[in-house]
């Protein structure tokens, strides 16, 4: 699905060749500062490599309409971003950007339960805890129904039990719906347990 060829970026990343398969779960592991997030952002076309190219479905990622591409390859940043408004407004923010009103409120409620956010959809999103905010942001991405889900440390603010529950749910969702998941994680255990494919990036000296 993704093919990365000779990319270089600011002395952080230098990857000769890499393939990320379609409809699989891929984890990117490596020490801090090794460029894991940078690589994920490149797949989302939020940043571009200084050299080399990234192919998506055999076509250079820069040849796609950037906005349309990001609605198909959607990324969750590491730090949860909460917008002004209530929980529902925050979950639907991606839909709003796409000018789409196509959503199922029951599905959202189900996801809220699965992700243990026991709050009313109309309550202010700002009052959620750090972990709840992170889970809300994951729901926000899932509800957009993208082909590729890019998650940057999706469980960094979660305790071990919730982490396992959330990652397990996401992975089942990806498998059942034939999606592709690329996830940056600090936990080699999570990577080994859930991934079909692990990419290890080393820090450049």
């Amino acid at each position: 699905m993704f093919e990365i060829k000779n990319i270089k970026f600011k002395g952080i990343l230098d990857i000769e060749h890499l393939i990320i398969p379609e409809e699989k779960i891929t984890s990117i592991v490596g020490e801090s500062g090794s460029g894991k997030t940078t690589l994920l952002k490149m797949l989302n076309n939020i940043i571009s490599p200084e050299e080399g190219e990234i192919l998506y479905k055999e076509k250079n990622i820069n040849d796609f309409d950037a906005i349309e591409l990001r609605r198909k390859i959607t990324m969750l940043p590491q730090n949860p971003v909460i917008y002004k408004g209530n929980i529902l407004d925050n979950i639907l923010v991606g839909k709003k950007f796409a000018k789409s009103t196509d959503y199922d409120i029951e599905e959202i409620k189900k996801l809220m339960m699965e992700f243990s956010i026991g709050k009313d959809l109309n309550s202010p999103a700002d009052n959620l805890s750090g972990g709840e905010k992170q889970r809300l942001c994951i729901i926000r991405v899932l509800i957009m129904n993208p082909d590729v889900i890019l998650l940057d440390e999706p469980s960094s603010a979660l305790d071990e039990k919730t982490e396992d529950k959330v990652i397990s749910y996401i992975c089942n969702y990806v498998k059942q719906n034939n999606k592709t998941l690329v996830m940056v994680t600090h936990s080699s255990e999570i990577a080994k347990k859930y991934s079909d494919h692990i990419i290890e990036i080393n820090k450049r000296s």
Binding site: I46, S48, N62, R71, L76, V81, F97, M144
Partner: protein, 261 residues
């Protein structure tokens, strides 16, 4: 009504007593700003005397080119003042947007004001055009400066929010919407506030000047209402043009937020 009472040289000099009082207070409190006060007083006096002579000449010999030249000078001065006084480093693209917005907003409003509202003849009559241009350009300069600060602060401090929105498939415009709205509010608020307090909290300078020089208060008020609306229009057009073009300078052609530095 009679014209304004002319002041003799001695009467004008007697007003400098306020500066002497100020200098006395400053010295007593050891504030060390005597030099600045004296320079400011001398500059104000010399600049105003020169302006007085220049305006007297221009009003007596109305000339379309000289009038346009003066308006052009006001525009250049105000635009370079915006560049100099802004606390952040402005990119070339943003400077171009500021220039286009200032020219579009102020000139459109000024022309509308002269040709449709006041309908003076000839249209370039410097006695009207120069003070009106001064008020319109000056207020637009203040408005756009506030808008620039808010836009730059917003994009700098809310990078995570903008980037998150882009990751979710937002257009740069949608990603910056709350920042643009906030910048517009901040830029337009001083003009709105001055309209609210006008006539009660303070008497505006143009109206006071007209009344002092012998105009009927009701005539002065009609001019003041018209110019306030003109100023509001000019500030709005300038700031909206700036914000609608300005946010784009922070993104590249791939709809990516440009890196800082």
């Amino acid at each position: 009504m009679n014209g304004a009472v002319d002041l003799s040289l001695i009467q004008v000099v007697s007003a400098y007593i306020f500066i002497i009082i100020l200098l006395f207070i400053v010295r007593k409190r050891e504030l060390n700003i005597e030099k600045e006060i004296i320079i400011a007083t001398v500059r104000m006096t010399v600049q105003l005397i020169l302006t007085g002579f220049i305006l007297t000449y221009i009003f007596k010999n109305p000339n379309v080119f000289i009038t346009i030249l003066i308006v052009g000078f006001m525009e250049i001065f105000s635009i370079s003042n915006i560049f100099k006084r802004n606390k952040s480093k402005l990119s070339i693209e943003l400077k171009n947007v500021i220039t286009i917005s200032m020219l579009a907003g102020t000139l459109l409003s000024l022309l509308y004001f002269l040709l449709i509202v006041v309908k003076i003849k000839p249209w370039f009559n410097p006695q009207y055009l120069i003070p009106l241009a001064g008020m319109i350009v000056g207020n637009s300069m203040t408005g756009i400066s506030l808008g620039i600060n808010k836009l730059i602060d917003g994009v700098t401090n809310q990078r995570d929010m903008i980037e998150c929105s882009l990751m979710l498939g937002a257009t740069p415009k949608d990603a910056c919407k709350s920042i643009i709205d906030n910048a517009f509010d901040s830029a337009i608020l001083p003009t709105i506030n001055s309209m609210v307090g006008m006539g009660i909290v303070f008497l505006p300078g143009m109206m006071t000047g007209q009344i002092l020089s012998g105009s009927l208060p009701l005539v002065a008020i009609k001019y003041q209402i018209a110019i306030m609306l003109g100023i509001l229009g000019s500030v709005s057009i300038t700031v909206i043009t700036f914000l609608n073009l300005g946010y784009k300078t922070f993104f590249n052609s791939r709809m990516q937020l440009k890196r800082e530095g």
